[in-house]
Each structure stands twice: as C-alpha cells, then as structure tokens.
Amino acid sequence: MEPQAEPLASAKKSIPVVKSEAVVVRFSGDSGDGMQLTGMQFSDAAAYFGNDLCTFPEYPAEIRAPIGTLAGVSGFQVQFGSSEISTPGDNYDVLVAMNAAALKGDIKRLKPGGIIVTNSAGFDKKNLKLAEYADGINPLEDGSLSDYRVINLDITKLTRETLKGSGLSTKEVERAKNMFVLGLIFWMFDRNLEYTINFLNEKFAKKPEIAAANVKTLQAGWNYGDTTELFTNRFAVEAAKLAPGTYRNITGNHAVAIGLIAAAEQAGLELFLGSYPITPASDILHELSKYKSNNVRTFQAEDEIAGICSAIGASYAGKLAVTTTSGPGVSLKAEAMGLALMLEIPLVIVNVQRGGPSTGLPTKTEQADLMQALYGRHGEAPLPVIAASSPADCFNAVYEASKLAIEHMTPVICLSDGYVANGSEPWKFPSVEDLPEIKQHFLQPEDLNGEKYEPYKRDEFLVRPWVKPGTPKLEHRIGGLEKKDVTGNVSYDAANHQHMVRTRQAKVDRIADVIPEQTVDNGRVGAKLCILGWGSTYGTIKTAMYQLLNEGYDVAHVHLRHLNPFPKNLGELLHSFDQVVIPEINNGQLMHLIRSKYMIPAIGYHKTMGLPFTTDEIKQKVYELIRK
C-alpha cells in the first residue's frame, strides 16, 4: 500500500484520504470473537463495492481451543484492490488484534509502518499470560510496536456503553463487539454500512433486538472513527477494473456444490452425493443437502467406504454420482474406486486435500495427495485426475470432472484443497447457456437395431454404453472380476487380461484427445525459466509472475488443470524452456511425474507448512534460479 497523498471527498469531517491499489487486512482474535464473520462481511462488502479480492480464513483444529491462548487464535485475511487480486497477500497493511495472543501470533507478517487496531480489554494480565508473554511484559506498552501505528481502544467497554440499556444480556453485548471493529474499519476505508446493515437485518430477522444492537454497534464504530482524532488519514481503494458482468462472491466448497448441480442438470441427470463428513470437505455435503427442491439426493453414509459405495450404486442406477472427502477418506475409498473403474461407470470423487499424513493437520492446506490420486489403488488402476486452481475455479473443475466421467464412463478424481475450499473470491458466474454441453445417453433396446447387446462393446473412445436397471431387454451382470472385453463376462483368459489392462489405460489416455492443449498462462513459450504449477498455487504464482515480468525476467507460467492424462503437447511445451521449476505444497509429486514422463530434469520447490506459498517465496526461488 504505497500511499499517494491526494485528498478525496469524505464524510462529516474531512480527513485526507489516501488512495491505494491494494490493501491487506487481517482480522485476528479468539475463536469466540467472531473474526471469521467480521472478515467475511468486510470482504463481501468490498466485493459488492467492486473491488477484486482474495480471502484466507485460518482457524484452529479444536472446535474451541482454550480462550485467549495462541492455539485459540482465529484469523481472517483479505486482500482487496482496484486491480486484479489473486492472493490474500503475504503481509498485511492493517492488523486487527482482539487479544494478546492474536497480536503475538500475527504481528510477524504486518508490514513495517502498518496499522494495528487492538482491543485493550484483550491485553489484561490474564490474556498476556495466556499469550505466553513474559511476566510484566505488555507489547502495547513496552515500545516493541514502535515501527507501527497502534490504535488501542477498549472496544469491549465502548461496545458496552453503546448498548447500555439495550436490554441485551452481557453475553450478547460481548458478542457484538466485533461489529464495532467492523464499523471502524469500514470508516477507515471510507465504506458505507448499507451492505452489512442489510445483512444483519436479514440474519437476525427473527431477533430484531439483536439486529438493532448489532447495527447500532456497527454505526458506533464508524462514528467513533469519524469523530475521534485517532486517524491522520483514511484510505480509498477504488473499484477494480474487472471484466464487465455480474459477479458474486464464492468459496471453493460452495463452487464445488453448485458445479455438481450444474453438471447434473446440463447432463439431464439427477445428482446423488454419498459422503461422510470430514474437514475440510464437509461444507460440500452441507451445501448440497439444501437443494432438495432440485431433487439432489444427499446420503450421509456410515463411513467413507459406504459413501463411495452408495455413489457406485447410484451411478449404476443412473444418477450423476459423487463422493466428497479429504485424504483419510480417499485412503479408505481406494478399493471401491477400483471397483468403479472395473465397472466403467461414471463417478466423481472430490478430494479436498488437507495436511497429512494420517490425521495430520485437518484444518491446514496441502497438495500431497496427487500421487495417491494417480497410484493409490492396487493393480493397474488408471483414473483421470483434475485439479482446481482457485475458489471459483472449483466450479469449472468439478463441472469438467462430471463431464468426463459421464462422457467417458469412468470415475474421475477432482482435487481441491483447504486453501481454495475455504477461501473466497468474486466470481463472474456463467449464464446457463454458456455452460459446456454434456452428452449423456442411456442405451435403449431400440438403439441396438437388432444387434445383440454387449455391455463392454466400446466406441472410438473405448467407452461402453450406460444402461439403467429398469430398461427392458438389457438385463446384464457386471462385477469386479476381470471380464472379457465386449461381452463383459467373467474371464480368466491370459490374453484378455492383458488386453483389458491396456484398454483401461488407453481409455484414460484417449481423454487427452478431448481436453485442450496446454497453454502458457503468462510469459512466453521458450522462456529461460518455466514455473509449472497445478491446483491452488495458481494465484500466488500468477502474482509473482506479474512482478517478475515487470522486473524484466524471462519467465513463463504454465498451470496444469489435467494431471492425468496430461495435455498432449505438454512434453513439447516444457522442453521449450531452459529450465522448469515446480513449486508444490508437498515433497515434489508433480515433479516426479514430469521427470519420469518427459525426462525433463525439472527442479522442485517444496513447502509443507500447511500454508500456501507467498508471492515472495516464489520470486526468491526464481531469483535463485535465473539471472536477468
């Protein structure tokens, strides 16, 4: 946020308003302080105002870690701006710290000269101790924050005063304090409160007194900023010059849910979800369970195995069948995936990756299930694999996964992760007419015109027909034992087995004929260095690229949506670069695939901290590898 002093029209009092292209704000507090909601509201309002943005919620694995402790800190980070925004930002301009633990945990990544808004009530002896500050040490007093602009208010008290006589319980009053902060920050960025006031009135429609209290507190926060001399200036972040159109905000998990609904409807099918709750995938189940009016069947199974098996049954019965989970669940579904692959029926398997191995870090992000997606089953069991690169892109990814599953009669694995699943961004959602067609046909006796029905007779893409039980004259049996091609009968014949193993591989390989060739996202073919990414690293690499290109580096960004099969031209494209570096939130899984498939000595860049890369990390790696 390089301030360019230039006064703007403002509210009551005229404090100079500084224009900024992009600002990063982090709301940080105890799990109980409602920072997630506050951050969401601020982001939605910013999006509504026309900024581009990217959010990054971070919360502890415990439902409610002990109040005031470092383990209990819940943070919500948002970067919003007047130009394209693809990451939540490495460092923030403004840090809201509701208690000592929040400050201690997050001060690290506040920009020098950045603004800190603290709630003094959260810095009493008890809180300082819980935040593990040495005895007698209070960061607000020991000058350790002298590099920053600290605005320390007793927000708790201010809120109490605001709501005095409101008749609300102390607990309810206590809860409202995040609205005071929100109001203050809105003022700081010269935003009006309309969006949030509407939100509050809707949310508490049934409890008008609560709604009123929250609105009142929100306004109090705004007015407080406006009337006090706290701030020497305010900030203006103009609307972004985004492509014209209608936008909405969306998280990755939400995008998965509606992407599946869209795919089902475009294919003329009903949707069936067989799932077992697991962080961070559960929200997909929650969201889909709301669409009963669109005949979406959600089945909360007794475990992950039943989740995928019920979906296999649903697919067999003619539904667009899906199972959603995270790593541990995928491990349990391995055997059933093999069955679906043998049956050659459509099935979408969504893996919202999290920190592993084992239970690992359930609420943190990671990209370490790629190899499992490709090889995590016994026998030669190839499946198409697709990855989502941003919250909104989850829609496209899962839509394409459904299309491939249906049109190629195969299970398809769609990889998301905690970062894109919980993060949100403005989305210029498509209009129904623009959605790609999905071809789907249940074989009917008439289609055979006299010929014998052969369950495993294949078309030019080696795809067998989909037959729904209940269709007269097409009764047949399928199963997990090796089967004779064409007839689908059980066969122990040696030559047939080899033929089938190779056919199942070829069937997946042929999908490369229908997916688009790989393009360069940014930079030039044949550049000195190619940054090859996949999945959720997209935004970070993209942001780094802009800067690197501006700095005059000869780099290019290639980002993979298709992990299996790879686009036909990928090898050729990659060979055009002098060097290829592959940043991944794992120990080098895509690197492994690229090296073995194309004999390219790709360089890995690995981070496994349960966090996305920062733009700076990517840039540093590039500096290390390339000279101007």
């Binding site: 905000n249 609904i261 009963k292 009016s293 007794e302 039943a306 296999i312 069955l339 039980p469 199963g479």
Partner: protein, 345 residues
C-alpha cells in the same frame, strides 16, 4: 410401485436363468437357493427388468451372475452400501442383496447394521454356511466356538454372532430364517421377504459340503429334523416333534420345552408366536440347542419378527417432493447467481 399394477408377462423359472454356467461345487447348498429364487420370481408382481441383484464377494455372491436380471457382483462386504445407493436412487427397482456369512457379518458388518437401521426396502438373503467358502475354509463370525478350521487348527476362541439376534439389535424390521434343504419353506420365506416393505433379512442355512459339510444336518435330515427344529407361524402355538407332541411355553420370561403327553399340558399352555413382538423374537433368536436357557431347544425357522417402519427411500423421496412442491424447483441460473450479486460496468 406403479409397476406392480400394470399387467405383467407370465414368466417361468427358466426366464431368470442367465447364460453363464453355474460354478458351485457339486452338492453345494447354493444351488437350492438359486432354484427357489428362480421358482418364486415368476409369481411376483415385478417386471423382469426391475429386478436388481447386488452381491459382495464369496461363493454365495457369485449368485448375481446366474440370474438373468440386472446384477452387480461387487466387492467384499460392501453390497449393502451399494444396494442402498441403488434403492435411494430408484425406489421402483426390486433390489435383492445376496451375501455370505463372512461377507455380511465379517467385513460387511458395519453396512449390515446400518442397512437394518435405515430400513431401505431391500430383500437381503444371507447364505450362512458358517465358513469362508471361497477362500477355502477359514472360520466365520457364525462358526461355532471351538471350531477347527484352516486358520484355527486348535479351534476358535470366540463366540459367534446369532445373525437373527444381531439384526434385531440393529433395528431390522423383518427377520426370518430358512434352510437350503426345505425348499417349500424356503420359497415361502423368500415370498414373505419380498412382501415386507423395508429391509427383509432372511438367513438361509446353507451346507458347504467341501469345507463345512453337515453343519446343519440335524436340522435338515429327516431323522433328526422333527426333534431339533420348530417352524414358527404367526398366531400359532410353538409345537414341534415328530408327533407334534412337544411344545414351548413361557415360564415368566424363560422358554421351556413341555411334553404335551405328560402332566396334562395342552396346546393352550404354549407360547403363541407373535411376529410383532420383538421380545419374543429375541427369545426365539437366543433359543439354541445349546442355549442359555439350558435344556435342549429346537432351532426356530420362519419369520421371527415384522415391524412397520417407513423406508429410508420413501422418507427421502417424500422430503424431496414436499420441499419441491412447496418451493418449486430453483432455476439453475438462480443457483449460479446466488442471492448477492453486483454488476461491473
């Protein structure tokens, strides 16, 4: 089901035999079950194309290949979960689940109990041969304590499940038992299973001549059958024995065997079978030859218990319909746009 009201073509047992040759061992009890199912089906008010067989893995689970209906020979222990997905997706189908004692109660135990609880309208035939047949003779969760098998050369050290008792404990709404050798009774039980709306659990004692020959001999062989079995019928007293001169009465909560020829016992003193009484069903389930009640008791065959409870798929469909008719279908475009959008000019 609307499909049941339209006239159906008259089919024969042959119409249900697939073109695959049956590959069970000579003398395997599975043949009889296949035969009875094929015999009963033509009389059921179901279109041939609406039958679906889902089986797991095991000798018994090969069954699906031999029926000329829709069928899936799936993976070990998961048939119940797959069948649930089929039924939830298309309630019109007549779904039949074929599984062995190992497939159902060892690896498949979890899906088994949850299917009973959820009460999908699925007909579950469990072939109980008290052994793992396909893997050549290890003990199963229904093998008797102390059984010597390939994996227990010195005998097992665990108590077996009583499948009927487990099903009841898991809230099954229909529980019955039959045997491979009594074909008439078996056919009747298959019919009853079909007629029940909800998950119908039918345990069928099935002899495995190769790895567990004679496990049920005393129940199936002419000479021992009358004294060691009792065929229970709703509303009828519990009478058994070659001369129907033995019966079972209740002494408080304990069953006792009474001799109708001695000290003036009459049929009126006997326990009258009531399919609707879960407590009695439980007693019958635990009433084994070596039962906790001491004395030698005959093994019960027939319908132990029936309960009327809504099926999962019906409640699910009702919920969909109710909400759809209330709200109407949400247009896809509206789902895509959500409720908060803004324009960029």
């Amino acid at each position: 089901m609307e499909t049941t009201v339209l006239p159906l073509p008259q089919l024969t047992a042959k119409d249900f035999a697939s073109d695959q040759d049956v590959k069970w061992c000579p003398g395997c009890g599975d043949y009889s079950i296949l035969k009875q199912v094929q015999t009963v089906f033509p009389d059921l008010p179901v279109r041939k194309e609406d039958y679906v067989f889902i089986s797991g893995i095991g000798c018994s689970s090969r069954f699906s290949y031999y029926m000329d209906t829709y069928g899936m020979h799936s993976i070990h222990g998961r048939a119940a979960a797959i069948a649930s997905g089929v039924k939830a997706s298309n309630p019109n189908l007549s779904v039949w689940l074929i599984s062995g004692d190992g497939d159902s109660l060892a690896i498949g135990g979890n899906h088994f109990i949850h299917l009973m609880r959820r009460n999908f309208d699925i007909n579950y035939l469990m072939f109980n041969n008290q052994i793992y047949g396909l893997t050549k003779g290890q003990y199963s969760p229904t093998s008797e304590h102390g059984k010597v098998t390939k994996s227990t050369p010195y005998g097992t050290v665990e108590a077996p499940f009583i499948p009927v008792e487990l099903a009841l404990g898991a809230k099954a709404t229909f529980v019955a038992r039959a045997m491979d050798r009594d074909v008439r009774h078996q056919q009747a039980m298959i019919r009853r299973a079909y007629e029940h709306k909800g998950t119908s659990f039918l345990e069928i004692y099935q002899n495995c001549p190769v790895f567990n020959d004679g496990a049920f001999e005393i129940f199936t062989e002419k000479d021992t059958k009358p004294e060691s079995t009792i065929f229970i019928e709703h509303g009828q007293p519990l009478v058994f024995g070659a001369n129907k001169d033995k019966g079972i009465a209740l002494d408080g909560l304990k069953p006792i065997v009474v001799d109708l020829n001695t000290n003036g016992h009459t049929v009126n003193d006997l326990w009258i079978h009531d399919e609707r009484d879960k407590t009695k069903a439980n007693l019958l389930a635990r009433m084994l030859d070596d039962s906790e009640f001491g004395a030698h008791f005959p093994r019960a065959f027939g319908v132990f218990y029936v309960e009327d409870r809504a099926c999962y798929e019906d409640e699910m469909t009702a919920q969909l319909d109710a909400i759809r008719s209330k709200k109407g279908k949400t247009p896809l475009q509206q789902i895509l746009s959500g409720d908060k959008t803004w324009e960029i000019k």
